[in-house]
Subunit: 255 residues, 2 copies
């Protein structure tokens, strides 16, 4: 029986330690094609490249069996290029990450890592985004690799319902200290921005985006709760973002 | 009684005819502050600027009563900067657009116009994105202006439930030919990509993203149905993208 075809992407760029750790795991499980940004694309959300051209060149990073392409575009561009142009059949799985830093709760909508997974789901591919709660470049991905292996094997075995993908966040803990997995909902949390205003050498103002994270959600069924309590959080995510529950309210309007 | 404070943004850039039409309407209704990209940001989804600095400078485009700022960042950056730094109180309304081109069905997740509205909703502001089904620069926004006026007055009067905003798409029709408004769900539709592969003058390959739109949804309660039948589509949109219906399926997994 042929091995599953696995597409790998991320938003930290093709040379980031997180994607190298992800590739290490999945190349033991399937035939791996990597199509990932040639540089950092964090915070790119579901952006696509409309106003400029894209480059996508095959590159060689290590002596593993995978095939790799570095792309000048966003994570979503990478998945679109892979599916429509690079691969000769639809992949059996699309994985994205392992992100350096959390994509829990509201971070999911800003995350390029998760947008690659959402785009995979849109294309009808079972898709998972992985993130470790450690922003550092030299984060320890050893526990994350065990988590990736378990989730990937399960998704290949069970599939995922049409229209959804998984957002998997991993606490910054040694593997033996992780308590297990929690299937969760996205917590009601947000960033409160505090732009850092500076002057450039010519006296003109510029800003750096900074902010603090605020969790308003007291539920124990959220990703924030799971992560704070030592669990891996697994949130199913969808791309039908209709607020169905708001439709009756609006139907009462006379427009 | 003081007038409502209305924040205006878009993704086509501050000088686009669509945002000028939107400003024309809302400055008759409230005190208007415009914070919009200094150039085109279409397809930016929910992207934010993390790896570079932002510029945001007050500019003067016409002699209207509004205050205007042009920002180097994405539509989401514009809303974040407005709320945290430029405005001295939370706006009563955030409007985005009028986009040159459709943001119906799956386009909502790629749209910078809608991401500005979603970010407004995240900040707790009643928010609406407006789009006209005409991509041309010199599109006729006269019917759209009537639609904007009706929706804005209604939202200021009724508010919107926490956690949702509106995605309003307007058919390319004279105002008298528009049949009315339909409250809808996002249609199950998608783009099938077909990258245009070319060679640059040095012989290296590059790509342009192109594709064709496919509507898989036969329902008559979708935005695609409403627009095809001459109605303005009004879809409530949310930022909790948990696929709640998938949680029971995942809970059966033994991880």
């Amino acid at each position: 029986m042929s091995k599953p075809l696995i597409l790998v992407s991320n938003d930290d760029g093709i040379s980031a330690p997180g994607i190298r750790a992800l590739i290490d795991v999945v190349r033991e499980i399937g035939d791996v094609v990597v199509v990932a940004p040639d540089g950092p694309q964090s915070g790119m959300g579901h952006a696509i490249t409309l106003n400029s051209t894209l480059r996508c060149d095959q590159i060689h990073i290590d002596d593993g069996p995978q095939t790799e392409y570095a792309c000048s575009g966003t994570p979503v561009d990478c998945v679109k290029l892979a599916v429509s142009t690079i691969l000769d059949r639809k992949p059996d799985l699309c994985v994205s990450g392992i992100n350096h830093g959390s994509n829990s709760s509201i971070n999911v909508i800003y995350s390029g890592t998760m947008s690659a997974a959402v785009e995979g789901a849109l294309e009808g591919i079972p898709s998972v985004g992985f993130s470790l709660l450690d922003y550092s470049h030299d984060a320890d991905f050893s526990a994350s690799k065990e988590v990736v292996k378990s989730i990937v094997e399960k998704v290949l075995e069970e599939g995922l319902p049409k229209g959804s993908c998984l957002n998997v966040n991993i606490p910054k803990l040694p593997y033996n200290d992780i308590k297990g997995y929690k299937i969760c909902r996205q917590a009601d949390a947000n960033w409160v921005e505090d732009f850092d205003e500076r002057k450039d050498p010519t006296g003109r103002t510029y800003y750096w985006l900074t902010g603090s994270f605020q969790n308003f959600d007291k539920g124990n069924d959220t990703d924030e709760w799971a992560l704070a309590n030592g669990y891996v959080s697994v949130v199913p995510v969808k791309f039908d973002i209709t607020a169905h529950e708001t439709i009756p309210f609006l139907k009462k309007w006379e427009l």
